[in-house]
């Protein structure tokens, strides 16, 4: 028999879906700003392997010469990104949901097993609660990354008034590099996230909109056993 199993709280879903367009616009407008001084690339021994960004990239996304516009969008949507992130963090702390989220002692070991499982190398997966070990790491990391973007962003935005933040980020240059690298990180996260969601299927996707999953009763018994295991250690 089918059963409804509550999964994601309303605020968690809300902040997830607000964050998606807010972050997308931050990345888009950030590109306009970065373009004006696109100094970054990866060079080893004087040979440049990757330049951020190649000419075709700018042409494709119509990025050239929109610095002022980019800044105007960036400094509006930073508020949405920040407030939304703050709501999520406060909610997670107050509700106690952080317990299901932050990595534990054995998480890093287990995450490896999850990876092997996801790559179809291993058949079994370690017992888990709401999030598996890899998810714990990924979803905690992404929050830390968001926090990092706010801090480094402020350090670049007001390096005199928030001189201590700038100092904390290792100076103006380094803050700008971290800010940029985190953005590249979001893009990687997004690609893997989308892939995983596609593989996980409809039931999982729906739970981030409607909040629940539909499970078969048989599985429920099994899952209860598993979660007992999970809490045992």
């Amino acid at each position: 028999m089918k059963e409804i199993k509550e999964k994601h709280a309303f605020l968690m879903r809300w902040t997830h879906w607000v964050n998606f367009p807010a972050l997308a616009i931050m990345i888009w407008s950030g590109m306009f700003i970065y373009w004006a001084n696109d100094a970054y690339g990866i060079s080893i021994f004087g040979i440049t392997y990757i330049k951020f960004f190649p000419e075709w990239f700018y042409n494709y996304f119509h990025i050239p010469q929109r610095l002022a516009e980019g800044m105007a969008y960036h400094f509006l949507f930073m508020w949405f990104f920040f407030i939304n992130g703050l709501v999520y963090i406060v909610y997670t702390i107050v509700s106690g949901a952080w317990r299901e989220l932050i990595p534990q002692k054995n998480t890093f070991k287990e995450a490896w097993l999850v990876l092997l499982h996801d790559l179809h190398i291993k058949k079994t997966i370690p017992p888990q609660k709401k999030y598996n070990a890899a998810q714990r790491i990924a979803y905690t990391a992404i929050i830390l990354m968001g926090f990092g973007s706010i801090i480094t962003g402020l350090a670049i935005y007001k390096p005199v008034q928030f001189y201590w933040l700038c100092w904390l980020c290792g100076g103006y240059h380094f803050a700008r590099i971290i800010h940029f690298a985190l953005t590249i990180g979001y893009v990687f996260f997004f690609v893997i996230h989308i892939l995983q969601v596609a593989l996980a299927g409809w039931n999982n996707f729906r739970s981030v909109v409607s909040g629940f999953e539909v499970i078969e009763n048989k599985e429920k018994v099994k899952e209860e056993k598993l979660s007992e295991h999970g809490t045992a250690d």
């Binding site: 616009i25 800044m71 007001k158 005199v160």
Partner: protein, 263 residues
């Protein structure tokens, strides 16, 4: 599912019905808000451009946001927050020239005829020569000059602290106004600065660069060095100084940039 039976007893929903109902509600809300967000975004993308005036070149809502954000961040401004300074050895020997607006098209400019005009009233002005300015106590600063484009360079400037200049020429009363406006002699480049940044202890009227006279391309004979602002506000070759309670015109604010542009 115990309910006080008033009217007809409703049959409890089956699991299937519950699932269906919650799906309907949640996806209904999801697509409504999603649609709203898309509509909001399209509205912003197609929102009208602001009427060109003191500021221009930006969309109306974005300009409003820039101005509101300015007010928020000005709360953090303090004269105790100083820009980081460096040893002289670290200053760039070749100082970057990013733009010559207001200078390059002024072929007739002759430094010998230059005087700084300070507008003190509707018809009154002070005219101050460079020697008079150089006789004031000198302040030097080696700091990381930051361009709005994203590059920066450690530079060494010397001149008179703007607040010293103002009190020496008895302009204290005028400088209590909300803004100072500066213009190049030909009026092609101009900036507006709010009082706090003008009076910041690291804001100087510079006549020296790397210990020598400023060259023409860097704004000889006198330019503004204001480390609490992006480079766009560091006006070269000051011709006119004025005070007002309203925002004076500002070259880059007319082209979509934030009026404040503070760091």
């Amino acid at each position: 599912m115990e309910q006080p039976t008033k009217k007809k007893v409703k049959a409890p929903l089956s699991i299937e019905q519950k699932i269906k109902r919650r799906n309907l509600i949640s996806f209904g809300v999801f697509f409504t808000f999603g649609g709203g967000a898309v509509a909001g975004w399209r509205w912003l993308l197609h929102s009208p451009e602001e009427t060109a005036g003191i500021t221009g070149g930006s969309k109306q809502p974005l300009r409003r946001a820039l101005n509101k954000t300015e007010l928020f961040f000005r709360n953090f401004f303090s004269n105790n927050h100083l820009v980081k300074t460096y040893d002289k050895e670290r200053a760039a020997k070749t100082v970057r020239i990013n733009s010559l607006i207001g200078i390059e098209d002024d072929k007739d400019f002759d430094e010998k005829n230059w005087k700084l005009e300070v507008r003190t009233g509707a018809t009154d002005s002070l005219h101050i020569g460079i020697e008079e300015i150089k006789s004031l106590p000198k302040t030097e600063i080696v700091f990381d000059f930051k361009c709005v484009e994203g590059w920066d360079q450690i530079q060494h400037w010397g001149g008179v602290k703007l607040s010293d200049f103002l009190s020496h020429f008895k302009l204290d009363k005028l400088s209590e106004k909300n803004y100072m406006g500066l213009e190049t002699p030909n009026g092609e480049y101009y900036v507006g600065l709010e009082r706090e940044s003008v009076l910041h202890p690291q804001t100087i009227l510079a006549y020296e660069m790397n210990g020598e006279q400023i060259t023409n391309d860097h704004g000889a004979p006198l330019r503004l060095i204001i480390p609490v602002k992006y480079g766009i506000k560091n006006l070269k070759r000051i011709g006119l100084m004025s005070f007002s309670d309203q925002r004076p015109k500002d070259y880059w604010a007319e082209q979509g940039y934030d009026y404040y542009s503070g760091l």
